[in-house]
């Protein structure tokens, strides 16, 4: 038995010492603040964070839209659960919607009809919920692209990137589960597709199918189970991950775009209180307001048009919600590959584009920060964002990925494309089978060239200033366009980025002929690193900039405010001049 620690029996009661009244607060606020501080030490908690600085940029709002959509989903979702019955029990419909009176249907579908027709505001909330779900996944996707293209996933934010990938993946499950709940013809078809997808998993497919559906499709338990997943399991996970995601943003402080005075060691922006409270809080109401207006004016998922689920029916043009479109497309264009091994069937035609593509996407996304780090050997912390052009290969990879996603997504509507544009369905499908591989390669090459061109343009701008649009004629008849020097702030912004260079192979033995172990750079890594860094334009050096400035000053002295070439007696094209400057 542990001996109890000494407790002084004569300890003085903990007297709360009232600190002198802080100045500058209205008396009402002071009273509440003092009350709270005496209990939870609010002042020491908030003194640092109340005026925490957040940088301003429109692209930082994308994640906010995702966060606010999630809150809207929680609020509207609670409302919907009050009337929705997650039951597959068959009943005869006797509700308000005349066209379905007397039809047999599940309680889930009947209660969705009741929400849409009998509960005042029910249809509005249902539609807000569905639109907010669309916004949620869309905002999250675009937010992730912003993070990717600006390199915000680099050290120290790799963990937050992984949390983000986790959020993205379980959001797709959340969306799909919610989409399946009304038990209408469209969602039931989606569920049947998932049944086929699960069945295609090698080795365990049939078992997984029987476990999830409690036997054969459709059974009577899958909707209650999805309901649990949709309103308890996944939202709980989302909530926890979002809390961690935001906590890390607060801890790391937000990244910022490059600019004068913005460094890796600081963050420039507006204080949380009052500016960001008003802006971010206000933005929540803007997102909510827009979602409500969407729910009021844009019909979504009119389940009464689809009818109750009937396993013998399907509608032409059936499609999942947009965020599942890329999987749908992959499934559609996949060639019919099946293996037969020792009395078993391996349905690659369903497994690869379904389960394979989804898991592959999440693995590639999750691994990317670590792959890039392996290629650059960059161990530094980064808080100033990359301009996408300054990392041409990453940007090109991102655009290639977007292209692949878009092509898969388009393939998900191959039937619509064929009927709308009077094309052959088979030709569209065959084309997409090739395009999903060729398209990303073309996108990669074009994007990389564009990035390099933009880098070159930046370099030109730093060294020679901006074009004035004035054509001058020299005494001997030559024409030239004088350039105006750009402001120092812009010059700094265009040259502040880190110039990464390819890793070199570490010699296998050091100077003393001793074999090196560990931190070396293998031939493969060096090769990949050279590919990753290939083609990038070196940013102007200080000497080049000084030479260019000097060159401009020489003309400025004779009354020209701009960088003219006319007095030189010879004409230089920009490229000649830049090669001269670099000598």
């Amino acid at each position: 038995m542990a001996k109890p620690a000494d407790v002084s029996t004569a300890s003085p009661a903990l007297a709360t010492e009232r600190p002198p009244k802080p100045g500058g607060m209205p008396s009402g606020v002071t009273g509440v603040a003092t009350w709270a501080d005496e209990r939870i030490g609010l002042a020491s908690l908030l003194k640092k964070n109340l005026r925490k600085v957040f940088p301003d940029h429109w692209s930082f709002l994308l994640g906010e839209i995702a966060l606010y959509s999630f809150i809207i989903l929680l609020l509207t979702g609670v409302f919907l659960t009050i009337w929705f019955k997650p039951s597959m029990a068959e009943i005869e419909y006797q509700g308000t919607y005349q066209l379905m009176r007397g039809l047999p249907m599940s309680e889930a579908f009947a209660s969705t009809l009741a929400l849409s027709f009998d509960i005042r505001g029910g249809l509005l909330v249902r539609q807000i919920h569905h639109w907010a779900a669309m916004l949620f996944v869309a905002a999250m996707t675009v937010h992730m692209l912003r993070i990717f293209f600006t390199g915000a996933f680099r050290k120290p934010r790799e963990i937050n990137w992984l949390i983000g990938v986790g959020l993205f993946s379980i959001s797709l499950i959340e969306g799909f589960a919610g989409y399946s709940l009304p038990d209408d013809l469209l969602s039931g078809t989606g569920l049947r597709f998932v049944d086929g997808m699960i069945r295609s998993i090698p080795l365990i497919g049939t078992w997984a199918e029987f476990f999830i559906f409690n036997g054969e499709f459709p059974g009577d338990l899958v909707i209650p189970r999805l309901y649990m997943v949709h309103i308890l399991l996944v939202p709980g996970l989302l909530l926890g991950l979002i809390a961690a995601h935001l906590a890390l943003v607060v801890y790391h402080k937000h990244t910022q775009y490059p600019g004068p005075g913005r460094k890796d060691g600081n963050v420039v922006g507006y204080p949380l209180f009052p500016v960001y409270m008003a802006k971010a809080g206000g933005f929540f109401f803007v997102v909510f307001g827009v979602a409500i207006l969407m729910g009021a004016t844009m019909q979504i998922n009119p389940v009464w048009n689809f009818g109750p689920y009937n396993p013998a029916q399907v509608t032409a043009g059936s499609q999942p919600d947009w965020y599942m479109g890329f999987v749908e497309g992959a499934i559609r264009i996949m060639p019919p590959w099946e293996w037969h091994l020792g009395g078993t069937t391996w349905s690659w035609n369903v497994f690869l584009p379904g389960v394979g593509l989804l898991t592959g996407l999440f693995i590639v996304l999750g691994a990317y920060p670590f792959i890039e780090r392996w290629l650059t050997g960059d161990t530094a912390e980064h808080h100033v964002l990359d301009r996408p052009r300054n990392n041409p290969t990453r940007t090109a990879l991102g655009v290639a990925g977007m292209t692949a996603y878009a092509l898969f997504w388009i393939a998900g509507g191959n039937d619509i494309l064929a009927t709308q544009f009077r094309l052959s369905l088979n030709a569209v499908t065959e084309f997409m089978r090739v395009a999903v591989f060729v398209g990303p390669v073309i996108a990669f090459l074009i994007t990389k060239r564009i990035c390099i061109s933009l880098q070159r343009a930046d370099s030109e701008r730093v060294l020679h200033g901006s074009e004035t649009g004035i054509i001058e004629r020299s005494p001997d008849g030559g024409y030239s366009e004088p350039h105006a020097p750009i402001h120092i702030e812009e010059k700094y912004t265009l040259t502040q980025h880190v110039q990464n260079t390819a890793l070199q192979i570490t010699p296998e033995t050091d100077g003393h002929g001793v074999l090196e172990k560990g931190a070396g750079v293998s031939r493969l890594r060096a090769l990949m690193s050279r590919w990753f860094h290939g083609g990038a334009i070196e940013k102007p050096t200080a000497a080049q900039i000084e030479a260019a400035d000097h060159h401009a000053d020489g003309h400025g002295a004779d009354g020209h405010a701009v960088d003219g070439h006319d007095a030189d007696g010879h004409e230089l094209t920009d490229s000649e001049e830049s090669s001269q400057a670099s000598r």
């Binding site: 120290p156 499709f217 005075g261 802006k279 013998a312 078993t344």
Partner: protein, 354 residues
């Protein structure tokens, strides 16, 4: 620990242009001009002032507008209640947001401030202090001296997960070979079961079908099942009956007596992921799945001619009974729907089989 940046040999190489520091603050129009400031103030007040009005309107609409009322806008019928509640509620919510943002942008101080950032890592002192504390705790735990404790705890924690996982073994029935035979490998079709129209439930005669026609059908016995069983059986037993010109189709020797004068019967369930198929191209005898566009040739024993499906559509052997009604000769000879791992579908019908 300060933020570790890769330091080139000289700072000039890293920053060829020296950081000019934050841009000077430019005074806003609403700060410089009193009337502009007052106008912004009034705008914020007006936006917030409209919110209670809209909130009251929302409540009035909720109680006053009948549930069945419709309004015509742009030639479309709109559910009046949904539209008006959303309009008032949405605009009110939007105005709160816009007012706050307008306030922040025009009235609140707009001087940008810079805050220092510290490395995410702890300082070396903190790390040392942590290591020292950790060592103390580790020492107290006794793990160092009594080495089996850690392993025993780890093993216990690992194994306690086993009962938790086993608890889920009853998630669903186990698809053993015997159960598969009773479930996914059979349908309720059997010898003598009548083919009935899936809507009218009327038995079909050969004379009811013309060349080029497709009929969606079900086994007559389907309606003996109810609730979940009904759905499960319907999900497998659904069929399509087509009548084609016997001269224009290929019928393999083994299936000569599976059809009645060019009337053939196939499973409606796609062998890809199980969608019900019935997009029928009369002239080509192709059947297209609307979900993923797998195409089957019904004039050639249902072989796949395009798309992601890998197996032929199962054909149901049919004949005519004494009263002239179309009946099944047996269940399907192979399972319907998507392939599954435990069964080798290599011996299912393929192009060229006889």
């Amino acid at each position: 620990m300060s933020i570790e940046t890769r330091k080139p040999d000289n700072q000039l190489e890293r920053f060829p242009v020296q950081d000019p520091g934050l841009e000077p603050h430019i005074e806003r129009w609403t700060d410089a001009d009193k009337s502009a400031g007052d106008r912004a103030y009034r705008q914020v007040l007006a936006m917030l002032g409209a919110v209670p009005v809209l909130a009251i309107a929302f409540v009035v609409i909720y109680f006053a507008v009948p549930r069945t009322a419709f309004v015509d806008i742009f030639g479309m019928q709109w559910d009046a209640l949904t539209f008006l509640l959303g309009l008032t509620g949405g605009v009110a919510t939007l105005l709160i947001g816009l007012a706050c943002i307008h306030w922040a942008k025009t009235i609140m101080g707009d001087e940008e401030i810079a805050e220092d950032r510290h490395s995410a890592a702890s300082s070396p002192e903190d790390r040392e202090a942590f290591a020292a504390e950790f060592a103390k705790g580790a020492e107290q735990s006794g793990l160092g001296r009594r080495k089996l404790l850690g392993g025993a705890l780890g093993g216990a924690l690992g194994l306690i997960a086993v009962p938790a996982v086993v608890l889920f073994a009853d998630l669903g029935p186990w698809p053993t070979a015997a159960l598969r035979k009773e479930t996914i490998e059979r349908t309720i079709w059997a010898e003598g079961v009548k083919l009935v129209n899936d809507i009218t439930q009327r038995p079909l005669r050969a004379s009811d079908l013309e060349i080029g026609q497709l009929v969606n059908a079900q086994p007559e016995t389907l309606w003996d099942h109810h609730g979940t069983h009904f759905q499960v059986e319907k999900a497998k037993a659904s069929i399509i009956i087509v009548r084609m010109d016997p001269e224009r189709i290929k019928i393999p020797e083994s299936r000569v007596d599976w059809q009645v004068g060019g009337i053939l019967c196939y499973s409606k369930i796609c062998t890809h992921v199980g969608c019900p198929i019935s997009l029928w191209e009369q002239q080509t005898h192709h059947l297209l799945c609307p979900c993923h566009q797998s195409t089957f040739d019904l004039s050639n024993s249902g072989v796949v001619v395009f798309g992601p499906a890998a197996r032929s559509l199962p054909q149901l052997p049919i004949t005519v009974d004494a009263d002239g009604f179309l009946v099944a000769r047996s269940d399907f000879t192979v399972p319907v729907g998507p392939s599954f791992f435990e069964r080798d579908s290599n011996n299912d019908f393929v192009e060229g089989d006889r």
